[in-house]
Symmetry: D2
Subunit: 362 residues, 4 copies
């Protein structure tokens, strides 16, 4: 199942070290202005090799638009985007073609399919997320142009470190998408030490959408929060998803959690902008837990395809904290979910509402 | 979107205080032995009115099988299940037909549809989950009979209280699905006080599946964990979902998180039984956060359909902790996801594997 | 697969002689005025037992609305409709529970599922189409109210008899949905003789939609004509579908087939109102071939479940020409397809067009 | 909607004169041996420029496998296939960028999307079918290897000419996929005269599948015949679809149409191998009507984007009978439908049957 979305359908393909990765975006409204250059910014934000804190693999990530765009505008036909892999080093992985790396998908792909492409993790590599980010460039543009919706994210925790302050304006100015400029030096030191140790660490990403109108989301199995949860959990290395207060809600009282309403608006946002699976008009807030990557220079016990015990050491290029580059990926998934829900909403309820609101009993 | 699943498709319908609720289970394999009585056990576990710790509404929840079963066995045609509502008290809700209860879906349904059925929360009521539990009775049976898979759950936290020990054998013997018999009295006291205070509290439910074979789950957008996340998040009042270590992974090191493998099996299960979105053969572990219900006797500021400020007090029958009855619902969603994935797996890979495993380069 | 449609999703259930048949209509816009009485007219048009030219089975076909309607209007939640079976005579079929009737689905259901419900043909009976007609009552209403679209049909051939003239005003005034009043007596004589002979005959139904705006239909795999073809072919006993000139196009020249266009409109409609899978604004025209029913008093060679040769005689109540009652069913399928496409169109392109038309090169 | 199939999902993209066309085949079982060369044969059968009886456009149609295949075998991940367009001549179409060609999709795309890619018909060109044929190469291979299913087709009518005899062995030896070698010279004369006249003609294609086991097809909305009908009708220029006797059934009696069964098998195949939407084990037979192409050198009245009357003459390269090259396309769609149904069948009923057949009442 390599297609995401009901009406805005993104189908991705490609292996980490195969000839190319790509996607087909189907169901996109016509008339959106888009060029190949529009993809550069977000792909660069996601890319490896930009700082010493991410994998050393360097891909140009040049997007070729193969279809669906005419004279700079989407036509309503499927938009195919292609990115050639240029820095694939299959020999890095030859050694482990017959081994199952603990914490990786090697073992499960093998059991599911009876065959796996071991080159760079094949399909299970985070390289696949490149195309999610590319597809979401279109979604972000449409959401912004048509509804004024803005989707953005930041890192909210690395290991045990949490931001002490929050300033959106600094998030894009440091290699960690970190909202507290005063902690960046501390994080650099932390990450340098971690990299040298050969170990990795987890992270939390928070992504929000401002400007979402009330009414998006399809109860009861296409709820906005349910689809955000699936979208985030489908990202490599994600182990948890929260909406609004998330797991903190467990220890809360109802009198404290429920967000009071007044004629001028909501008094708080514990709900994270979603009630009954439908957007409330408040900021949509989603937090995502990334596990520490399992690809380490530190040895670990594993098994090979014949069932023998082996010691596994990963010497390929890897991220000491996969969560760092995950911010644009989480943004991408939120943007794709929101655009899909927006299209579904207007299908059922119309651009301007299928009907004027009815007063009960009226 | 009131259909859940790709191949095992469960479509539910019905409002909380409408004439009936029901579901259609489509895509079910033929030959499963099923009778109307099979539904009683799990529906009773989910039902209100069984103890003083849940809502006082008392429904018989008698399931009528309308189709798809012949001489006690499923035939492969759609199975329609119907439950008549018998204890609907619409007048309890007349007062708030023109008001939006904070923390509820009233406001968002109104904005989405321009109309809402205010009787008992209408479609957004947790009454809908009755049919999820009913449909999952079939899934649990098939999973157990065919694969030996067992799905079960327990409460893992109420407010700030966590179990001090874990014993599956006591979970079904107390009104809280609580795994530590020694704490039940404490919980009863806590819940009695809470109920008297008019407030509510959140809860955490943990649900696990034993016996899941390796290979279930469809990368990259139909991952087993992604679909579990959506399934759980689609349950009323859920604000967070974790697989395995979940948010605890954020502060972990990769050397500690990754589960070592040996010829005799995995050495730990931080991953929660899923790698790369595919089951690994270990126990599948999912934790779910329930917010405290917003329906309280304690007043709160709200607005009405005309935009006026109103004070809202909910006097209807409600649960002081919706998470308590949620254990069978979480089990249901996990069972439905697993059966759907099992069917999808054998579609692509065959009952016994499409091919024998291939040795890379061999 | 008992769900029809992408955005307007109709799920039907029920066996011919089971306790009930029903459907769930999901994705329906809110605010459509609907009552249980609205279903009577079209269900009566489809029903058996109204004239001597159809099966003698007499069902009240009373529709109960179980959900999705509040104060006489759809709410946007799933609409469940239920019809109890009241004139099921299972004993009529006991004799052939172990036999496969030639021309019926007995043999194929048995091979597919390893089990079948033999009571009245079970799920493969045309009784299932009752719920298609019911669901389409809502679609017809929405199409008419919102777009002025009118869907109607007539019989275009019975056996070798074709209408000599066409008058829509007489179609509903004779038991054959026949557009030529002057031939009705001839048809009654023909059908009486046929019924007495114990044999059956095929029929052709033509169904058209007026008022469809240009732009409905999703190239390339959701084309309006492709979905009409599937919809019609999914009706029991259908063996062929044509759009516009259909098979007559094979012998035509392009200079004659293509419909010239002028500022005031199209000059002809060989295309049947669809170009490139998208409605052109002309009348949408679809013709459907119904085979003669295989349930006859005349004996035929068959086999039983043990593989023995048996002589099969069907003594149950059957239609000598199933095509007669098929007119409202074909209308229903066209209405469902059109409404689904209308919703999909506005999802992608908006109620009033996502953008103003662009002049190429402009 | 550019995705075809439920479990074997083929998503195509690309415009006729854009940089490339391609497809993504998702849900394919692992372990199928496939190389880029495997696509050559069927793509050549479909291609233009091979004989004077088809369009003069010459494309190499070289398939690049971008993903999903490792060491010559499918891996279960999405298979992306890419074909670069090399003989696009956009200037041929500049003249009509502002005109709507009668009988073409120009007008309807314009109304649907407000924008269209006029280069070579853009997305509505039959060039898109290249990728259907490519995807079906994989399906044909799997069907043949695993079930011994063979899908093949032939032309059954050109204009008023019908075959006088039927010999499968000559079908591939003439440019018309014609089953009667004795008529080939006559057809060449006919087509030469037609081409010189500047006109075009329709055709009928018959495609059959041998070896389909009983049990494939999903009642009631995923019937094998319904999906074949949609698949065929989604091909450019198709106006009608028949299963088995098709429209001839209208004039038949039930006693003649129904296929008697004996212990040794069916006595005839009026049904075309499908009963109740499920394959019966007989040959599956489908006939398809192609209209004459509307692109002619002969002038026709049309309108332009400003609503003015214009005379339209098409001077680009076109087929005088699009049905000729359609045989491999019809085969492709049947193969894709059959493989998809096979996967769905084993999902629900298992590779070897979910259960042993049950004797009713037993």
């Amino acid at each position: 199942m390599n297609t995401f979305g009901q009406l805005l359908r993104v189908t991705t393909f490609g292996e980490s070290h195969g000839p190319a990765i790509g996607c087909v975006v189907d169901g996109c409204p016509p008339g959106i202005a888009i060029t190949a250059e529009d993809f550069s910014h977000d792909l660069a934000r996601r890319a490896t090799g930009r700082t010493r804190h991410t994998s050393a693999r360097h891909e140009a990530d040049a997007v070729e638009i193969l279809s669906g765009v005419y004279e700079g505008h989407t036509t309503g036909t499927p938009i195919a985007l292609l990115v050639r892999n240029t820095d694939a080093r299959s020999k890095d992985y030859d050694r482990i073609a017959r081994q199952f790396r603990p914490g990786h998908a090697d073992y499960t792909y093998w059991h599911k399919y009876g065959i796996r492409d071991p080159r760079g993790g094949g399909r299970s590599s985070a390289r696949e997320t490149t195309m999610r980010v590319a597809a979401a460039v279109i979604a972000k543009k449409w959401l912004a142009d048509r509804f004024g919706v803005r989707v953005r994210g930041h890192l909210a925790q690395i290991g045990g470190v949490m931001p002490r302050s929050h300033d959106w304006t600094v998030v894009e100015d440091n290699p960690f998408f970190w909202p507290d400029a005063g902690q960046v030096a501390e994080l650099e030191t932390f990450m340098d030490a971690l990299r040298k140790s050969g170990d990795s660490v987890g992270a939390r990403v928070t992504v929000v959408a401002d400007g979402v109108p009330p009414g998006w989301g399809e109860p009861v199995y296409g709820k906005l929060d349910a689809e955000l949860a699936a979208a985030m959990m489908s990202i490599n290395a994600v182990k948890g998803v929260e909406i609004g207060d998330g797991f903190a809600s467990v220890a809360q009282k109802g009198s404290g959690h429920r967000d009071a309403m007044a004629p001028e608006g909501f008094g708080s946002n514990h709900a994270g902008g979603i009630l009954g699976g439908i957007s409330s008009g408040q900021q949509v807030v989603c937090s995502v837990a990334f596990k520490p990557t399992s690809s380490l220079r530190l040895p670990v016990e594993g098994v090979d395809v014949d069932g023998n015990a082996v010691e596994i050491v990963t010497t390929g290029r890897h991220d000491p904290c996969v969560g760092i580059r995950a911010t644009p990926i989480c943004e991408a998934m939120m943007a794709l979910v929101l655009m899909d829900q927006a299209l579904r909403h207007r299908a059922q309820c119309g651009d301007v509402g299928e009907v004027a609101p009815r007063i009960p009993g009226g």
